[in-house]
Amino acid sequence: MSADKIDINHLAKLARINLTEQEKERFAAQLGDVLNYIAELKEVDVTGIEPTAHASPVYNVWAEDIAKPGLSVTEALQNAPAQRDNMIVVPKVVE
């Protein structure tokens, strides 16, 4: 996929950001470059190489299930633009 294949309006909608016409052009070009780079990587022959989600061969990094204290309500809500009844207020959403 190259720059002209990018549906910048759809991407902007998914990211919940409003873009000006100039920004759309600029970002579509930048994202196009990224895709072109991926396309280039795709050219590499990877026959016989196992796919991986990570570069380093490290697995099973975990912690035991022992609960530790968390934040107080005051701390938890201190960045909330609006709060009521110890909860964060957001525009009404129904799904």
Partner: protein, 482 residues
């Protein structure tokens, strides 16, 4: 209606019973004051990193082993991206193309022809089970919504079935069976009222004989096992009547309201989400080796239906009793312990299914809290069989045990409940009883053996419950044979 068949697939979310969250160690829980179970990871504050909960991984692998799934030797984590205030990160960590458990099945039992008849058993195939994190809870007010993040990040399994069920009854039986397995395995309590188990159903209909699946409708918010059954029944009827009247089913998500028994469209396929899944770079993949699986396999309990079949075979107790005992693992273990101690499974089953359940129902205690332990009940049953106490006296001892936790022998002694009526008295009472019931006497003489029971009541009454039932029977028979 008969020329269509129904196809149902379920997506069941089950919260793993864990002390801490899926990717951070703050406490999990239900019913805590709002926003008291959060930490920087839950709230997605800048710079935080997720760390897997070992116990949650154990739980899903154990679930997979219990449900005969293939456990993937390798799995990874993905980000499911969407903007919704219940998820402060704007993505949910889940497993997209590499879930831990693949395939597998759940054994279900359909309703029998009567309460005392075992219904048909079926295996419902599973597609997959994966692990993810739960989201926060939104409370809708008149003009805005309020968020409580206590639930956010709780370890959550998503269990997906094949489109393999054909009725609301099957879906109901599936959830009941799944819940029992989860509770047996100590994986989740599956209390739907607490949101520990939640269910979405994909429902479609197709003309009989057609291989291709019909257009599916996803039904959401089925908040209790009964609502699942009602909601699915409602949706099947909606689809059938729509097709019959020449309408077309559209692929959509509908919200079922159990209170009113109605559903309404939430969104259609056109506004389906685009989640842009990609591997989570913050989390390392998981490798499951044979040793890990073997450790969990050793912790797996006997499966509920296997236990039920064994009880019926080994202890020869009726289906009705087993269907009371089996759904509750503690109760079925209690039964087995009692049956082994007294060697009388029938009596043990009856006492537990009737008296013991009534007793704990009354006190609101759990079976583990009940003061009557298997050794108490077994001793009581032995006392009855030996003829030391009458059944009437046994009930009194039972109530006394429930409140004091004393052994039955002690109570019998303390209250003087031994069936101790003298043989002279007994002989007189028996004679009186026979004389006072000529009808039963005639029946007995005519060969109806059970007519003898009619004489026992008055004898017991005269003896104030203290007559030895065995001796009463023997005396009556001797007198009747004269």
């Amino acid at each position: 209606m008969n020329d269509y068949e129904v196809v149902i697939g379920l997506e069941v979310h089950v919260q793993v019973k864990a002390n801490s969250k899926m990717f951070t160690r703050v406490k999990t829980g239900f019913g805590h004051p709002e926003n008291t179970l959060t930490d920087p990871v839950v709230l997605a504050l800048p710079g935080v990193l997720p760390v897997m909960n070992h116990a949650a991984l154990d739980a899903i692998i154990k679930s997979g082993l219990l449900l005969s799934c293939d456990i993937a030797p390798y799995c990874k984590w993905d980000r499911k991206n969407y903007f919704y205030p219940d998820s402060p990160k704007n993505y949910q960590i889940t497993q997209y193309d590499k879930p831990i458990c693949l395939r597998g099945n759940v054994e279900i039992e359909l309703p029998g022809s009567a309460r005392n008849v075992m219904g048909e058993h079926k295996l419902i195939p599973l597609t997959r089970i994966h692990l993810e994190e739960d989201v926060g809870k939104l409370n809708h007010a008149a003009f805005d919504s309020l968020i409580d993040y206590n639930r956010a990040g709780t370890p959550l399994m998503e269990i997906v079935t094949d489109p393999a069920m054909q009725s609301a009854d099957e879906a109901f039986a599936f959830l009941t069976a799944l819940k029992t397995v989860m509770v047996y395995g100590g994986i989740s309590d599956c209390d739907m009222e607490k949101g520990q188990m939640r269910c979405d159903a994909n429902i479609s209909i197709r003309p009989k004989g057609q291989e291709q699946l019909g257009t599916k409708v996803e039904l959401k918010n089925l908040n209790s096992i009964s609502y699942v059954r009602d909601g699915i029944s409602h949706e099947i009827l909606r689809q059938l009547s729509l097709v019959k009247s020449g309408g077309k089913i559209v692929q959509e998500t509908r919200d079922y309201d159990g209170q009113t028994g109605t559903s309404q469209s939430l969104r259609t396929k056109e506004d389906a989400h685009d989640y842009r899944y990609f591997p989570d770079p913050d989390l390392m993949p998981v490798k499951v080796d044979e040793a890990w699986k073997a450790r969990l396999k050793a912790e797996c309990p006997e499966m509920p239906f296997d236990k039920q079949r064994r009880f019926m075979k080994e202890y020869d107790i009726p289906y009705t009793i087993t269907s009371v005992l089996i759904p509750d693992k503690s109760l079925s273990d209690y039964f087995e312990a009692t049956a082994k101690l007294c060697g009388q499974a029938h009596a043990a089953g009856n006492w537990i299914a009737n008296d013991l359940l009534r007793e704990i129902g009354k006190s609101g205690e759990s079976i583990d809290q009940c003061k009557i332990k298997p050794n108490h009940l077994a001793a009581l049953i032995k006392l009855i069989t030996a003829g030391t106490i009458s059944t009437t006296a046994a009930r009194e001892v039972f109530s006394e045990m429930a409140s004091t936790g004393e052994l039955p022998e002690k109570i019998v002694e303390r209250k003087g409940l031994t069936a101790s009526a003298s043989s002279d008295d007994l002989e007189t009472w028996c004679k009186d009883s026979i004389a006072s019931d000529p009808k039963a006497l005639a029946e007995f003489k005519a060969g109806k053996d059970s007519a003898i029971n009619a004489f026992k009541g008055p004898v017991m009454k005269a003896a104030k419950g203290k007559a030895n039932p065995k001796l009463v029977d023997e005396t009556l028979r001797r007198l009747l044979a004269l």
